[in-house]
């Protein structure tokens, strides 16, 4: 079964084609990496899938259901969660609240319950808080629950953002450069974490990344983009050896 299918996606900004006919498929439970030079249109693809940009042309199917041009806020309910290239945490909210907000969005009570503090309120709140703590622990953020998110070091903010996305219990997770600003050692840890996440939450993952150590090790398949187009697709091994990819992206010395 295909978790996500992208067909002939196009998007331009004032005459510039940022994404020009991209198609790829993410099979359920698999991890797909997207690489490509800066400005190739990778992030734009994410924004198209998650509805933040309006698709000019093309189709996006999620488990066979057409989700093209769906409003962003509806997608998490279907099972799509994402992180952002330039971190978008709720910077003045605590670490705990950042995670809790996503859980309560997923399993919430209604207005009457919140106003009159019904049993449902206490039950759902309790459950949500427990789950938030679990996630925070899983991402090694315990002890920092009450820190405002923007007081965390960069790497921890990245982890928190992933934790928040996972709190939505998605079927697919889109992560945009999770390793940016981490040192090689931290990237290794992240790789480990992502692997566990995938295992534990039985997810499909799409990852954009410039750090080859991460993307080549985690991906089952890699899509390479340049100038908005897909220049190739294949296993990490195939991609690393491809002439066009080396020329446009990896550089000669990489080998």
């Amino acid at each position: 079964m295909n978790a996500l299918e992208v067909e002939g996606l196009e998007k331009s900004f004032g005459g510039v084609k940022a994404v020009d006919g991209i198609s790829f498929v993410v099979e359920e439970g698999k991890t797909v990496g997207i690489i490509g030079p800066n400005g190739a249109g990778k992030t734009t693809v994410f924004n198209l899938i998650t509805g933040f940009y309006r698709v000019d042309r093309g189709r996006i199917l999620f488990y066979g259901k057409n989700i093209t041009r769906t409003q962003p806020y509806k997608l998490p309910h279907l099972g799509i969660a994402r992180t952002f290239q330039n971190l978008r945490l709720f910077s003045n909210l605590s670490v705990f609240e950042n995670v809790l907000s996503a859980i309560l969005k997923k399993d919430g009570y209604n207005v009457v319950s919140s106003v009159f503090r019904t049993a449902d309120y206490f039950m759902k709140e309790g459950k949500a808080e427990k789950k938030a703590r679990e996630l925070i622990e899983f991402f090694q953020l315990s002890g920092k629950e009450n820190y405002p998110a923007n007081n965390l070091p960069y790497g921890e903010q990245r982890r928190l953002e992933i934790a928040r996305a996972l709190a939505l219990q998605p079927k697919i997770l889109l992560v945009d450069e999770p390793g940016a600003g981490m040192n090689p050692r931290e990237v290794q840890d992240l790789l480990q974490t992502l692997r566990e996440v995938k295992e534990r939450f039985s997810l499909s993952i799409v990852i954009i990344e410039h750090q080859m150590g991460l993307v080549m090790n985690i991906s089952d398949k890699v899509v390479v983009m340049d100038f908005g187009e897909k220049i190739m697709e294949g296993t990490p091994g195939e991609v690393k050896k491809d002439k066009r990819v080396i020329e446009a992206y990896l550089g000669e010395e990489f080998i």
């Binding site: 030079p37 800066n38 400005g39 600003g181 040192n183 090689p184 931290e186």
Partner: protein, 249 residues
């Protein structure tokens, strides 16, 4: 700013000397008694984990952040606590974390801003020529709004902008972040080129420790705001503790 504090022997060999530098954000200590020296014409790298205080160190040198203790002497002048615009005029410019170019201004205007402290027209033209020859890609896009450049180009612009200030010391905060492998290498070799041709000293802050150690002569390791190690980059690179903590397998 105080005038030349010390004129003791040997002091002038050193471009910058930092002693006992401590910085706190509220109750969080970001830098703790940091000692660091920069020699003229060298590339110095500073590596460390997330939140170790690397950016804070650079921000404190430029005057954006004020230390609560310690001294920074640049070219014989004490500059700790001085306003950033004064520091820049003395010849320290920075390529900030996350590039932070002016997106709505054109590439050319960005470069002009970099040359803001320079009053000598001839020098300005010279610097401009230097930048456009070093970064031919920038030259093609002088009229474009900087916000529409790709990540790599923005990084080049940020470097060009810093060079326009005619620095004696260039601070680079994670210049490779978010850049593709090919561009990363390009940026590093350009950096080396500038260092070689113009003799500009650099402090290079990097997460990408492999790259940083490869391209620098000396290195400092920062942990929780303290310098835990320093020495020649090649030595640092082969130290087991460093491999374990920063370089990975």
């Amino acid at each position: 700013m105080r005038e030349k504090e010390q004129t003791g022997e040997g002091k002038f060999d050193m471009l910058m000397k930092i002693e006992g530098l401590s910085v706190a954000y509220g109750t969080i200590r970001a830098l703790d008694d940091v000692v660091l020296e920069v020699m003229p014409g060298e590339i110095l790298s500073v590596i460390g984990a997330n939140g170790a205080g690397k950016s804070t160190l650079l921000k404190t040198i430029t005057g954006i952040t004020k230390p609560f203790a310690g001294t920074i002497v640049f070219n014989g002048m004490a500059i700790h606590g001085a306003r950033p615009d004064k520091v820049v005029k003395l010849g320290i410019t920075i390529v900030p974390e996350g590039r932070r170019i002016f997106p709505d201004l054109t590439v050319k205007e960005n470069l002009e801003l970099g040359g803001y402290p320079i009053t000598d027209r001839a020098l300005k033209t010279e610097l401009f020529d230097l930048v456009v020859t070093t970064f031919p890609r920038i030259k093609e896009r002088l009229k474009q709004h900087a916000g529409t450049l790709s990540g790599g180009e923005q990084q080049m612009l940020a470097m060009g902008r810093a060079l326009m200030g005619n620095p004696k010391l260039l601070l680079l905060d994670e210049p490779s972040m978010g850049l593709s492998p090919i561009i990363t290498r390009e940026i590093f070799s350009l950096m080396r080129l500038i260092n070689r041709d113009r003799g500009i000293s650099m402090i290079l802050v990097e997460q990408n420790a492999h790259m940083a150690l490869e391209h620098s002569e000396r290195a400092y390791v920062l942990e929780n705001g303290r310098v835990t190690m320093n020495g020649l980059s090649r030595e640092v690179k082969s130290s087991p503790g460093i491999i374990e903590a920063y370089l990975g397998v």
